[in-house]
């Protein structure tokens, strides 16, 4: 396996207020992967990203970007990083073209108008290239932030809640862009509150809460390990209690006895469904409809955070 593009070791951050926002965080990110950082408000996601990008100083620990220490070799480390911060911050009087070109120069790259043009076209900003930022809508400003972060062709891109407050169309565009960047080999670390997105996009997820990284796991493995499936049966006749014949089964009543819910391992060879249905039939419990669903990452996440609390 190639060395990680990002390696965070024992990073702790105590703000001047005395508040410890990160506690001994360790994290390794492989080249080319998409990593989703999940956690409730105030968990420390932005703090972690800011430390890696150099906009917040760490209290202790070490961060290596492609082997370059972000403190002693900050030039090499930072020139590989693009950052789209959580909040939009732009020089509102500059034009789109100028502010994006500015970012490229700032990161030490010679001008490349052809690349900037393709970037603006990809982000549907080409028509707005000569507009001043103040004349753009919120969604367009967010795209400008992304264009700026990509202007110097980073290898490692941080997206801090890229889809917060963004409409459906832009969100779809955003994920299309993420896929395209992934195909180009860009490693991405994103935070999001939309857990379906992480589930769909990320190769791995990390769950952070109270400044501690509670878990880092492949999205698929996590779903397999913690994921449950549920079979919901809508009954013909409501049941007052679980019949004794079903006492050994992991079933519960829901909707005032109108529904019988059976939880089972999402990955088991034998789901147990045929046996359960046979048993119901033998006991004269009729149902009119059935539905299966799987627990989302959201359920898993809520469970983890509750357990840690």
């Amino acid at each position: 396996m190639s060395p990680p593009i990002l390696s965070v070791s024992a990073v702790t951050k105590t703000y001047k207020t005395g508040f410890t926002a990160l506690l001994a965080v360790d994290l390794e990110i492989a080249r080319g992967e998409i990593f989703a950082l999940l956690g409730p408000n105030g968990a420390g996601k932005t703090t972690l990203i800011s430390i890696i990008c150099g906009t917040v100083t760490m209290t202790s620990g070490q961060v290596l970007v492609d082997g370059h220490d972000t403190q002693s070799a900050y030039r090499a480390a930072r020139s590989m990083i693009g950052l789209v911060p959580q909040e939009i911050a732009l020089d509102i009087f500059a034009t789109v073209w100028n502010t994006v070109s500015f970012s490229r120069g700032l990161f030490g790259k010679p001008p490349n108008p052809a690349y900037i043009e393709s970037l603006l076209r990809d982000l549907s900003l080409w028509d707005k290239r000569d507009s001043r930022v103040i004349e753009l809508s919120g969604g367009m400003k967010r795209r400008v932030m992304i264009a700026k972060a990509l202007s110097h062709e980073p290898d490692l891109l941080f997206l801090d809640e890229p889809t917060a407050g963004v409409d459906v169309a832009l969100r779809r565009d955003m994920w299309a862009l993420v896929r395209r960047l992934r195909d180009q080999g860009v490693t991405m670390i994103l935070t999001t509150h939309y857990i379906e997105e992480a589930e769909e996009m990320a190769d791995r997820v990390g769950v952070i809460d109270g400044g501690r990284l509670l878990l880092v796991e492949g999205t698929a493995q996590l779903m397999r390990k913690l994921g449950k499936r549920r079979l919901t049966l809508a009954l013909q006749q409501p049941l007052a209690a679980i019949p004794p014949e079903l006492a050994d089964w992991p079933v519960e009543l829901a909707a005032d006895g109108q529904e019988l819910v059976y939880s089972f391992d999402a990955n088991a060879e034998d789901t147990g469904i045929p046996a359960l249905l046979r048993l119901l039939c033998e006991n004269g419990i009729d149902f009119k409809d059935l539905d299966t669903s799987r627990t989302s990452l959201e359920d898993i996440f809520v469970r983890l955070v509750e357990r840690a609390a």
Binding site: Y15, K16, C53, G54, T55, V56, T57, Y74, R75, A76, A77, R78, S79, M80, I81, L83, P85, E87, A89, L90, D91, I92, F93, A94, N98, S101, F102, S103, R104, G105, L106, F107, G108, K109, P110, K148
Partner: protein
């Protein structure tokens, strides 16, 4: 991949963006000092100067030219540089500067360089305006330019520090209006400190601006209140002090990074 040892593109990007920002407000930043200077000439040169005749053998109208230029140079250097770095802090766009592969020194060169460029341009415009009112001649043009550049850079450095220190617009405005303008007025811009009674003459020697104005005036007319060496020495000292403070800011990340 090895990163270059000096981020020339980065310095240039900031310098250009800063110059563009200043050009957006060029009209007001040129109009204000030009009008003010013209007013000074009418009031001091015309009304008062007609009674004063000459100072140190120099026509009073011409005598105040170096002081007037210094007044603008100081205030403009400080305000250009302080707004230059305060504005990104205010709009939060500073995150980009902090996350860039740019050393603190490179950021200082870019911001201070742009601020100094603009205030030197303004000083030259004021000089040109002055020649429309009074006969100005410059005995030591090389030294004149040297004083201009040195002072612009020194006070842009000072302004940069003010911009980092300031947490709101009031603090940003307080240093120029509360400290620099009074010191300049009391610094011999409109009179020779020889004209002051004691003990004010001696007390004036504690005012740093006296040294700047005096050195600058010497480059015009060959005489000043204090020696040229003292003027240069003081400017260099103040520049060294600003650099030391900046070094400390860099070491501690003072008011730039949480």
């Amino acid at each position: 991949m090895s990163a270059p040892s000096l981020n020339v593109h980065g310095i240039w990007a900031i310098y250009r963006a800063e110059m563009a920002r200043m050009m957006r407000t060029m009209l007001q930043s040129v109009a204000t000092p030009v009008i003010t200077t013209a007013l000074y000439f009418v009031v001091f040169g015309g009304a008062i100067g007609s009674r004063i005749q000459s100072v140190d053998g120099v026509d009073y109208g011409a005598f105040i030219v170096p002081g007037l230029i210094m007044l603008s140079l100081l205030t403009q250097s400080i305000s250009n540089a302080s707004i230059g770095i305060y504005f990104p802090k205010f709009t939060k766009t500073i995150f980009e500067i902090l996350s860039a592969p740019l050393s603190f020194g490179e950021a200082v060169i870019a911001y201070v360089g742009a601020a100094a460029t603009k205030s030197i341009l303004l000083a030259l415009i004021i000089l040109a305006t002055a020649t429309a009112f009074v006969p100005v001649h410059i005995q030591h043009p090389v030294w004149m330019v040297a004083f201009l550049v040195l002072t612009a850079i020194t006070f842009s450095l000072f302004g940069f520090i003010v911009g980092i220190w300031a947490e709101n617009f009031e603090q940003l405005a307080i240093i120029p209006s509360l400290v620099v303008t009074p010191l300049t007025f009391l610094g011999g811009a409109f009179y020779s400190i020889e004209m002051l009674p004691q003990p004010w003459r001696t007390i004036s020697l504690l005012n740093p601006v006296v040294y700047l104005v005096s050195g600058f005036r010497w480059s015009f007319y060959g005489s000043g209140d204090v020696g040229v060496a003292a003027s240069l020495g003081f400017t260099a000292l103040f520049m060294a002090a600003c650099l030391a403070v900046l070094w400390w800011i860099f070491r501690t990340g003072y008011r730039l990074k949480p």
